[in-house]
């Protein structure tokens, strides 16, 4: 019984907590800009508000536009099943593979970009174009940063990676650190943060993610916003658990799980602060400077692979 409960806790942690971490990052950014900022629970209220709003759908759109939010949200849930967050007790040999995670995320992005084109507006199309450009280039860096870990672990399974990396002596930790920097760049790109995208803008010259979902409203917009929050938390969790897997419970005993949960949340908080501080201290880059940054991520991971041998 407790096993099922722990599994449900691990599975529901991301969808339940993701709006909170969006709120935390916004709050820290506000404080850094000398604003008081909204409550960290504001994203929950936003979602609730959107779920109770009426919807407007374009004449020009097809079923792709209508189905996309469900596919996008469901794709983040599929990842939650395979991602070990507070315990490595559930070794998932069915979907707990990092290539599966990356390509399931790509599935969501694929439909997101299609929906951007679907309304036939001027903004959606170029948003999709930019998103797919960045996603295509980011995928290589993402796979390579995880590849560093899988070369260490001799497996592409996430649970096995956590097991191997946590028992790695500190002296040989440098490749993991390099890969983490590479991963962090991808995190910023994939979750639409500075310097790649501005999550708070509706200025047509700069927006990427917002441009694609411009025509959405009501419950579908709520699902998309929530899925974006899930994606952010998934990336933070991958960063916290796979690159710094210390403190994660290896058993299913209740005290171990609770301790692991505390450490997990603390690690997430540290990463959120890092994202917020970074976002406050740098400007958004020109679009055609971004490939250089993504290439940097790729090369860092290549160096890391070279260091392992």
């Amino acid at each position: 019984m407790s096993t099922i409960l722990i599994f449900l806790l691990q599975f529901s942690l991301i969808p339940l907590l993701s709006p909170l971490f969006v709120g935390i990052i916004r709050k820290i950014k506000a404080r850094l800009q000398n604003r008081r900022g909204a409550s960290i629970f504001q994203p929950y209220s936003d979602l609730s508000k959107l779920f109770h709003k009426n919807e407007v759908i374009s004449h020009d759109s097809s079923w792709i536009f209508k189905a996309m939010p469900y596919i996008l949200f469901a794709s983040t849930l599929v990842i939650c099943v395979g991602l070990p967050l507070i315990t490595t007790g559930f070794r998932n040999s069915f979907s707990g593979d990092f290539l599966v995670i990356i390509y399931i995320l790509a599935l969501g992005t694929f439909f997101l970009a299609l929906a951007g084109i679907d309304t036939g507006g001027g903004f959606g199309g170029f948003g999709s174009s930019r998103e797919m450009t960045l996603a295509a280039l980011a995928e290589g860096g993402f796979i390579f940063s995880m590849l560093v870990l899988s070369v260490i672990a001799h497996s592409t399974n996430l649970t096995d990676i956590i097991g191997s990396v946590s028992s790695l002596p500190l002296i040989s930790y440098l490749p993991v650190l390099l890969a983490f920097i590479g991963f962090f760049i991808i995190l910023l790109a994939e979750t639409g943060r500075f310097p790649f995208d501005n999550p708070a803008t509706h200025l047509e010259l700069t927006m990427i993610h917002e441009a694609m979902i411009l025509e959405y409203s009501g419950k579908r917009l709520a699902l998309i916003e929530w899925a974006a929050a899930n994606k952010l938390l998934i990336f933070l969790a991958i960063g916290a658990n796979l690159f710094f897997p210390w403190g994660i419970a290896t058993s299913l005993s209740i005290p171990a799980i609770l301790g692991s949960l505390g450490i997990f949340l603390a690690k997430l908080l540290i990463l959120s602060v890092a994202v917020a501080v970074l976002e406050s201290s740098i400007a958004k880059s020109r679009f055609f400077r971004l490939p250089d940054l993504l290439l940097t991520s790729f090369i860092l991971s290549m160096i890391a692979i070279g260091l392992i041998f």
């Binding site: 779920f51 109770h52 709003k53 009426n54 919807e55 407007v56 374009s58 004449h59 020009d60 759109s61 097809s62 792709i64 469900y70 949200f73 469901a74 794709s75 849930l77 599929v78 099943v81 040999s93 069915f94 979907s95 593979d97 290539l99 599966v100 390509y103 790509a106 599935l107 992005t109 694929f110 970009a113 299609l114 084109i117 679907d118 309304t119 036939g120 507006g121 001027g122 199309g125 170029f126 999709s128 174009s129 797919m132 295509a136 280039l137 995928e139 290589g140 796979i143 390579f144 590849l147 070369v151 497996s155 592409t156 399974n157 411009l214 009501g218 419950k219 679009f287 055609f288 290549m302």
Partner: protein, 679 residues
Amino acid sequence: MNSAQNIFFLALSLFSAGVVFSILSYNKERLANIFSSTFAILGSITGIISAVLVLIYNQSFSINTPSSFPILSYTFKVDYLSAFFVLIISVIALFASIYGYGYVKQYFGKYNIGSLGFFYNLFIAGMLLVVTANNALFFLIAWEVMSLASFFLVIFEKDKEKNIKAGGLYFYMTHAGTAFIILAFLLLYRSVGSLDFDIIRNNIALVPAFTKSLIFVLALIGFGTKAGIIPLHIWLPSAHPAAPSHVSALMSGVMIKTGIFMLIRISLDFFAGGPLWWGILILTIGAISSVLGVLYALAEHDIKKLLAYHSIENIGIILLGLGSALIFNTLGFQSMATLGLVAALFHTMNHAIFKALLFMGAGSVISKTHTRNIEKYGGIIRYMPLTAFFFLIGSLAISALPPFNGFASEWITFQALFAGIRLVSDSTTWAFVLASGALALTGGLAAACFVKVFGITFLARPRDEKIKQISESSFSLTFSMAVLAALTLVLGLFSGSVTSILSKVAGNVTALKNSGISPGADPLAIQSGDSFASVSLPYVFLILGSAILIVFIWVKLVSRKQSQRRTITWDCGTDLTPRMEITATGFSRSIITIFANILKPSKEVEIVYHAENPKYFPKTNVVNLGTKEVYQTYLYEPIHRLITRISELAKIWQNGNVNAYIMYIFVVLIVLLIAGALK
């Protein structure tokens, strides 16, 4: 005699009947179409049965019929590898023929259907002979039948000058390739003394190491031309689109794979592997072909040309599997070599299915819109919902998105490459690292490209008024696409069972005899030494499906009171026109700009002004965006110049003067007589 053999010859006879009856009914186009399709369908079904008998019930067979010519014998041998390719060819031919029955109707009254049926059946029979022939000379005859039949199919729409040009290029390139193949076989003959494949395989120790490598390179150039590896691919993007769409599906789906088949045969079956650099070379070519193929596809706006470039990309991915198999084989990691070959074979099969599906989808659209330019499409999902749905499935599969078959084979390819990074030492590791990088980049770019194709073709508003009058294609077209779309999902979901059959096929190759890996049925798992990886696509499919369902029901419950309103897209206060939608050019322009060093984008601006002077008010403004093909400038043009120069030199002797020629004959005769007398 076993039943697989009888059924295989029944298949060949049915195709022959298709050839004969089509041409006999050349002046009755309806009858010719029925004959051609029916015999091809029946032939394909019997082909599938015979391949399945070999693969599942182990009824391999070989048959030897001597001919009246000394070195030619009509030898067939169907082992697992041949049977696997017979299976792919028959499956794609089956659905292409069903599709063709409806698709060909648009040519009634314009072109000769009888000759189409003649060459179509001949083409399929030729491909079946190519993968089953067991004698080099017989193989070359089959190869030529396949190449020439497909050449005539490429120039079938002969009123379009472009098609004739494309056919011409294909003709030259394929015969240049055949020249290299003949040279490779002649070298084998010199060392082994036979053209029989069995004798060559058994006496391969007689071939010196240098000759082996020479044969390998010649075969790589010859068969690589057919497979469409970069830079030998130039015929492919113009020839494949020129043919009728069901023929394009066959050419892109299976014909180019016969090149892959022979590369596997020669490198791993005849030679049982070779030096390390063979594998590294194949891996490098695979990496280059995959990345460049997809980049050129992004720059392309002719829907069939774009799909043809994706074939180059996928051939690259197949070669990544084959290259790693060769490297592992040389270094003695037999089980990993099997894994690499399984990845190559699996992707060969998957690509055949989703590429045929995509070509059929494109053909379905083209048959209604009569243009291949995707900038003229838009909003077709409303007028052709089924075609759009099946094309979407194909797009997801080719972009390697789970749970479709493309993901399964790319996942195995990734695992093979990752194993290479881990197991192999020194500089070879970096070949694997770069190959993994190429594959990762290719996956992302392919997804971007198919968002472009699907989005611009099927979504948003029509860019052309004519689109609003089109309707869904006929049953024979949608049926073929539906079955192929279902196959992409089925092959993904049952990838575990498929790979266990494929490892049997791979284990049949000389180099990998008894290497023994057995990927489990489900999850699709890979165990090799100290490493392990697994994935279960039925499980992923199930969670994804149930997650979508639960979210849907939940949202329905939460916001059941809310209403939905349909209105126009936000237009900033102006009237929406199709010109406000993003174009395919615009969509891919940012990626092209990023890869400007490789793609060499060109831009020509033509402005016509109202008044010549002063030039303030432009009347029309035309911008031509394109890409330059680098190997055209750096490879083919120098070769062309060299040939021209040699021809100029030859002109001194071959000057068209008959008197001079008679003198040459006279001189040669004298020399021969003297030589004979001295002896």
